[in-house]
Each structure stands twice: as structure tokens, then as C-alpha cells.
Amino acid sequence: MKRFTLKWPLVISSSVLALLIFVVPLYGAAVYSFKGNGGKGHSWTNYQWLIHQDGFYPSLLTSLKLAVLAALLTLALMVPTMVYLNLKGQKYKSLVDFLCILPLIIPVVSLAIGAQVAMPKILQNSEYELVFFFVIIALPYTYRALDTSLQTIALKTLVEASRSLGASWTSTIILVIVPAIRSGITGALFLTFALSIGEYTITSLLHWETFPTWTVVAAQQNILGAIAISVFSFVGAIALLSVIALLPKRSAQRVEVDE
């Protein structure tokens, strides 16, 4: 039974396509961002302008802080919820599924207006209100990432084994389930973090300053600088997430249930 292998045609054609769709615009913008004064030559001018602008570091730090908090809150809220749903809460699953899809359905614009009407003043006076809405906006992706990976493992068997060996619920979730669904968890983390750090709509409508909203203000003074910011945030985000992805995973290499 010799099978014809499609490996190289597929890999090459998809690489060429990815190059055209993703690398060409990014590369074009990167080249543009190195234009010197008056569009002549190549230099770091636009990047130097960028880091010397007021608000560069504060807004970047704010964005990083809010994104980390949103990713952590997402995990704390969603991992136990999803495990319970797939284990025992089957009858609530369609309701939770429904709630988690809503953020995609409801335009973020109207969620923002709703937030202005509905949120208590204490919350509206703090930039941390954004964390909650970042978690909400990421829910559809978080749900899918966690649910799909929970469905590909033998959850019931794992839990029963762990519980009958005397582990508590907390240690069952942390030591058994989390390692088994780590691909889903990293996916959920990536998504929430990336989504939060680039979020513009709700942030601007609620009048907070994070890196994306700061960019727009800065762009009004210097379009080359704005393009430099865009390239910087793209490459920065890719580098950051790649480093996170390449960090050595400490344990659990042996949990290979259906992967």
C-alpha cells in the first residue's frame, strides 16, 4: 500500500500563499516605516520619534498590565467553568455556549454604550473596568479553545482516576486536567492577551488611554510615526508570544491523551 504524498506541494503552496497574504503587507509597512526625513533614505527616525513621544511607555505599560490581568482572570473564571460543564453540568452547556457566543454577536460599540449606561460609577472611574470587558470580548474564543481541547481528552476517566486516588478537586484540575488541555489553555491565553492588547473600540468609547488609542492620537501628528508604531506593535506582539510559546514546558510531557 504505497501512498502518494502531498507533503511538499502542500507545504510549498501554503507557504507561498502565507507569504503573499501576511508577509508582504507587513514587510511593505516595515520598509515604509524606515523612511527618513521627507521620505528620503532609510533611518530609525520614525522609531526614535516614537519612543520619545509623551505617553509611549505609560500607555504601553497600561496595555500590558490590563492584558495580563484579563488573561489571568479569563483562566481563573473559565477553566473551572469549562471543566465542570463537560463533566457534570451538561444541562447548562447550551446556556453557557449561548452566553459565550454573545460577545461576537453584540457589536462591541453597543456593549460600550451599554457599559456607560449600566456600570456603577466606581467602576467607570477606574481603568480596570476594561479588564472585565476584555474578558467578555475574549469569551467566544476562550470557550471554543477550552471546549475543543476538553472534548478531545478522556475527561471523565481522568477525573475518576484522580479522584479515586484521593486527589482533591483543586489538585485534580491543576495537576491532571490543566496539563492535559494545555494546548487549549495556551490558546485561550494567547487569544485573550492579544485581543486585550490591541483592543480599540471599547477603550476609546469609554475614554481610556491604552496603547492603541494613544497610537491614533499620535498618528494625527505623524503618519510615518504611526506606521512605525503599527509595525512595532505587530512585531513586538509576535516576538513576545513566540517567546512565551517557546518557553520550556516544565512537566506533563507524559500526558498524551489523544493528541
Partner: protein, 293 residues
């Protein structure tokens, strides 16, 4: 009656399927998701003096521009969801099949960045690459293809389609990859040991199993494209009339005094459209789940 009652197997979980463990989730979504939406919806039925009225809905049904905006938004989300789901499914397959280990992890994070870059930076990047003075525009011109010879501009409908595809394709990769990874090797081995060719396996087993997930993902992209805001706002400055952008302009304060709550009713109109999409998504999800139980 002498019947031995079954002991609850494990003490601390003896409650059965109570709702208590889900309470944090329900409280959270109730307060930060449902309550704001209810508030907007209620206000969309109120006039300037808080009286109950349907007046905010009249402009959507009776005046051209708002209805037209809905049509343009629908067309945009349909086209970009199609491009995104087809190309994204192809990429997802190649990635699952051939990108393993660390490279796979890096591809994951790159997809996450691209998929969620549907913001302002993306608009600036495409202006730099495909604008009249853009780098790619110039290179193509040197090669003999002037993309600005016809009606194309990066600020037009076609331009928005290009930019949206940039995040729809990797979004599809992210949401569809788990479905492909979930295809069990046993299924392929079983059909091949029964004499099927690889082609027959895909036609009779692989594709039928993946179709519900594919359709579900398509609906997700559709809904995402339909309510996307920041990129189009930064890119088109209103040249392409899309519903979210009109809502944004309305609530930003450029409002005619008797249309204070028109933005709210447009938002509710979007929710109505999207509910139909969501029904399709839920249906597809149920079909997809059938294979994994």
C-alpha cells in the same frame, strides 16, 4: 424495603449537577454582558424625554442610508468570511499536519497576533503597503501592474475586504485547527485497512466530519466581520458605509438632536441580524459535537 441505598461515590462532589460551580460565570456574564445589552435595548425604545417610543427605529426602515449600510455590512462579512474560512481551513490543515513542536507553537502565536490585530495598526500597515504611495503599490507598478489604474483604492470596499481577510484567515486557522486535530488517526487507519484510498477517506469520512465545524467557524467569522469597527473606522473615515461605523459616529456626538438614541436602535438592529447568524452557528456546533462524544 430492604434496598441498599447507593452511597454517593465521592464525597465532595456528591451534589450531582448543581448550578453552584457555574455561579461565578453566570454572575460575571450577567453583570458585564447581559446587563449592558439590556440597558442599551431599553434605551433604544426611549425618546429624548425618556418616554417610550418606536421613533428610533423609523429611520432604519424608512431611510435609504441606514438600510444601505446594513446591506454593505452584510456583503462585507459574507465575502470576508468566505475568503477567510476557505483559505484558513487550508492553512489549518497544513499546520496540523506538518507544523509540529516548537514551530507549531510559534505558528499558533503568530496566528493569534494576526487574528486579533483587527485594530488600528492594521489600517496603518495597509496604507503603508497598498496606499497610493505604498511600497507594494510601487513594486507592482515597477513590475507593470498599476493597481490604481482602475477603481481600486485601499479606502474602498475592496480595500476593506483585503484588510479584513488579513485577520479572518488566521482567525479561521485558530478556531478550525482543533477540529482537524480532533480527527482521530484510528478513523483514517480503519478506512485504509478496509481498502479506502486517501481520497476516499477524505470524501467519505474526513470532510463529512469536518463540515459542521467548518460551517460553525464560517458563522463565527461572519459575525466577527459584521461587528468589526476599529480597522474600518481608521481606514475608510466613513467612505464605506458600515453599520458599526455609523453607530460609532452617532454616539461620538455628531448627532442631530432628535436622533439621540438612533445609535441604540441601529445596535439592536445588528443584534437581530446577528441572532440569525448565531442560530446557524449553534446548529452547526451541535452537529459537530456529535462526533466527539
Amino acid at each position: 424495603m430492604g434496598v441498599v441505598r447507593a452511597q454517593p461515590r465521592i464525597r465532595s462532589s456528591g451534589r450531582g449537577s448543581g448550578v453552584l460551580p457555574l455561579l461565578p460565570f453566570f454572575l460575571f456574564t450577567g453583570f458585564f454582558l447581559i446587563w449592558p445589552v439590556v440597558a442599551v435595548t431599553l434605551r433604544s425604545f426611549q425618546g429624548n424625554k425618556n418616554e417610550w417610543t418606536l421613533a428610533n427605529y423609523r429611520p432604519i426602515l424608512h431611510s435609504g442610508p441606514y438600510l444601505h449600510a446594513f446591506m454593505v455590512s452584510l456583503k462585507l462579512s459574507l465575502i470576508t468570511a468566505l475568503i477567510g474560512s476557505l483559505l484558513g481551513a487550508f492553512f489549518a490543515y497544513v499546520i496540523v499536519k506538518y507544523a509540529r513542536g516548537k514551530f507549531g507553537a510559534v505558528v499558533d502565536s503568530i496566528s493569534a497576533v494576526f487574528a486579533n490585530s483587527g485594530g488600528v495598526p492594521l489600517a496603518f500597515m495597509f496604507v503603508a503597503a497598498f496606499g497610493t504611495e505604498g511600497i507594494v503599490t510601487k513594486v507592482l507598478k515597477d513590475l507593470g501592474w498599476d493597481i490604481y489604474a482602475g477603481h481600486f483604492t485601499i479606502f474602498s470596499f475592496t480595500g476593506v475586504v483585503m484588510v479584513y481577510s488579513f485577520f479572518q484567515v488566521p482567525l479561521m486557522v485558530l478556531v478550525f485547527k482543533p477540529a482537524i486535530a480532533g480527527l482521530r488517526r484510528e478513523w483514517e487507519e480503519a478506512s485504509i485497512s478496509l481498502g479506502a484510498s486517501a481520497f476516499t477517506y477524505w470524501r467519505r469520512v474526513g470532510i463529512p466530519i469536518l463540515i459542521p465545524s467548518f460551517v460553525g467557524a464560517f458563522f463565527l467569522l461572519f459575525a466577527g466581520g459584521f461587528s468589526a469597527y476599529a480597522t474600518a473606522r481608521a481606514l475608510t473615515v466613513g467612505t464605506v458605509p458600515l453599520v458599526p461605523i455609523i453607530i460609532g459616529t452617532l454616539v461620538d456626538g455628531n448627532v442631530i438632536s432628535d436622533q439621540t438614541n438612533l445609535g441604540d436602535s441601529l445596535a439592536v438592529g445588528m443584534i437581530v441580524v446577528a441572532t440569525i447568524v448565531m442560530a446557524g452557528y449553534i446548529w452547526a456546533q451541535r452537529r459537530a459535537a456529535k462526533w466527539r462524544s
